[in-house]
Symmetry: C2
Subunit: 298 residues, 2 copies
C-alpha cells in the first residue's frame, strides 16, 4: 500500500482530468463564466473532499467510477464556489488562492460572482444526473443543500465568520469558533463522508462511524489551518498568511494558544481513527488521511 500522500497525488492525477472533462463549453461569449469557473476549479487543490467520498464509498466495495467520481466532482464544484465568493472584495478580499490570482483578480468581479453561482448550480445538476437510484440522488441533494445552506450549513458558518470580525469581545469565543468551524469547514467534510456512506448503502452503525470520523477530522483540519496561518510557509501554501492575527480574528490559536491547539487537534485525530474500528478492513487510507491532516505542515 502506497503512503497517503502518494495516494492523494495519484487520485488527483485521475480526478482532475475527469473534472476537466465535465465542461461542455458554449460557443458564444457566454462561455467566459464557465471558463472562470474551470479556472478556479482546476487551479490546484488537493481534492480532499472527493477523495473522502471515494474512500468512504470504497469501504462498501463501490469503485471510483462512475458514481463516487460524479458526486465528488459535484462536491468539489460546490467547495470551489464557496472559495470564489469568499475571496471577493466584499468578503475576504484575497488576491491569491493556491498560488494563483483569485477568480475576480483574473476575470473581474462580476464574472467571478457568476462563476461561483454557476459552480453551485452545476453541483446540483451533477447529483441529479448521477448513475444512482432516484431515491439516493434526492437524499444526496437534500443533504448537500442542508450542509451547504444558511440554516446550519456552510453559508450560516460564513455569516457567523463575518459576524466574528466585529463581535463583542465578551462573548464566548470558544463556542463561536467551534460553531464557525463546524458549519463553515466541517459541513462539507461531513457531507463528503456521509455521501460516500449513502452511495455505499451503509447501515446505521457504519453511517454514524463515518459521520463521527468526518466531524473529528473536520475540526482538526480547521485547527491545523489556524496553526498554519501562524506557523506556515506562505510560498508552500500558495496563499497569504498571518491574516487572522492582523485582522484580530478569533481562531483556535488565539483562543487556546499554539500548544493547546495542537493537543486538541491530535486528540481529535486519535478519536477519528477510533471511530473507524467498526470496519474490519479497508479503512486504513482514512486512518492515514487523519494522521496526514494533522501532520500536513506542522
Amino acid at each position: 500500500m502506497t503512503d497517503i500522500k502518494t495516494q492523494l497525488k495519484e487520485f488527483n492525477q485521475v480526478f482532475t482530468p475527469y473534472l476537466e472533462s465535465l465542461f461542455n463549453f458554449p460557443q458564444g461569449p457566454e462561455k467566459k463564466v464557465m471558463e472562470a469557473g474551470r479556472y478556479s476549479l482546476t487551479n490546484g487543490g488537493k481534492r480532499l473532499r472527493p477523495f473522502l467520498v471515494y474512500r468512504c464509498a470504497a469501504l462498501f466495495g463501490v469503485p471510483l467510477f462512475p458514481a463516487p467520481a460524479q458526486i465528488g466532482a459535484s462536491l468539489e464544484m460546490l467547495h470551489t464556489y464557496s472559495l470564489i465568493h469568499d475571496d471577493l472584495p466584499a468578503m475576504d478580499n484575497d488576491d491569491l488562492r493556491r498560488g494563483h490570482p483569485t477568480c475576480h483578480k483574473q476575470y473581474g468581479e462580476a464574472t467571478a460572482i457568476l462563476a461561483g453561482d454557476g459552480l453551485l448550480t452545476e453541483a446540483f445538476r451533477l447529483i441529479a444526473t448521477a448513475p444512482l437510484s432516484a431515491e439516493i440522488r434526492c437524499q444526496l441533494t437534500e443533504k448537500l443543500s442542508f450542509l451547504a445552506g444558511w440554516q446550519q450549513g456552510m453559508i450560516a458558518g460564513q455569516c457567523l465568520d463575518l459576524y466574528a470580525e466585529t463581535a463583542p469581545k465578551d462573548i464566548n469565543q470558544e463556542k463561536l469558533i467551534a460553531d464557525i468551524e463546524e458549519m463553515k469547514t466541517g459541513a462539507l467534510i461531513r457531507y463528503a463522508c456521509e455521501a460516500g456512506a449513502i452511495i455505499g448503502k451503509a447501515n446505521e452503525k457504519q453511517f454514524e462511524a463515518l459521520s463521527t470520523y468526518a466531524r473529528k477530522i473536520g475540526t482538526a483540519f480547521q485547527i491545523v489551518d489556524d496553526i498554519l496561518d501562524v506557523e506556515g510557509d506562505a510560498a508552500l501554501m500558495g496563499k497569504t498568511l498571518g491574516k487572522d492575527a492582523v485582522q484580530g480574528k478569533a481562531t483556535f490559536v488565539s483562543c487556546y494558544g499554539l500548544e493547546q491547539a495542537k493537543e486538541i487537534a491530535q486528540k481529535l485525530i486519535t478519536e477519528a481513527k477510533e471511530s473507524l474500528k467498526v470496519f474490519s478492513f479497508g479503512a486504513e487510507p482514512l486512518a492515514e488521511l487523519a494522521d496526514y491532516i494533522y501532520s500536513r505542515n506542522i
Copy 2:
C-alpha cells in the same frame, strides 16, 4: 371567473405567507443572512413564476398545495437570488428594487452575496424534499439546474448581458438580444411551465404546448420590460427606469424601435394563446395571463 389581475393578487395573498412560513431561523447571529434573503423574497414581487407552476399543474387537476406550492417557492427563491446578485455593485449596481432598497443597500454587500447563495441552495433543498416521487424530484432538479445554469441557462444569459455592454457594434444585435432574453429571462419562465407540466404528468404533446407557451410569453415579457424602460412610470414600477438608454445598451426597443417591438410582442402573445388549444378546458387563466403580460402598463 375573476379577471387575471385579481387572480394574481389573490394568489399572492395566499402564496406570500406560505413563502414566509418556510423560513426556520437559526438562533445565533448567523440568522442575518436568512433575514436578508427573506427581506428580498418578500419585498413585493408579482409571483408570476409560481403562479405559472400552479396554473400549469392545475390543468392536470393538481391543486396548489402541497407540491406546486413548494416547487413554486423553490423557483421564486432561485429567481430572487438572481435579482440580489444582479443588483450588486459589481453587476448592475442598483439601489432600488420593487420600490425598496436592494439587498446589499439594506444588509451590506457581503451579506447580500451570501443571501443570494443561500436562496439558490435552499431552492434545491425545497425540490429535494417536495412531496413528489423521487423520479420527478430528480427531473425537476436537473431541469432547474440546467435552465438556471451557465451552459445555456440564466447564468449564461447574465454573462452574455455583461458582454453586451461592451460588445462591438458590428455584431448581430438582434441575435444577441434574442439570446440574452431566451437565457436570462426566458429560461425560468420556461422552467415554471415545464415544471407544472411535469408535476401534472403531462403527455408529450401537452408538455410541448406548455413549453411553447412559456417561450412565447417569456420573450414577450422581456420586450414589454424593454418598452417599459422607455415608456414606463418609475413610481408605479418601483425601480430606476431609462437605464438601458443611458448605458447605450442594446434592447428590443433599440433594435426594432418602439412600434415594431410592440408588434412583435403582440404576435408572440397571439401565438402563445394558440399553443394552448391542445387543452380543451382549464387554460383560460394562462391565456388571460398572456394578454396581461402584454398589456401590463403599455
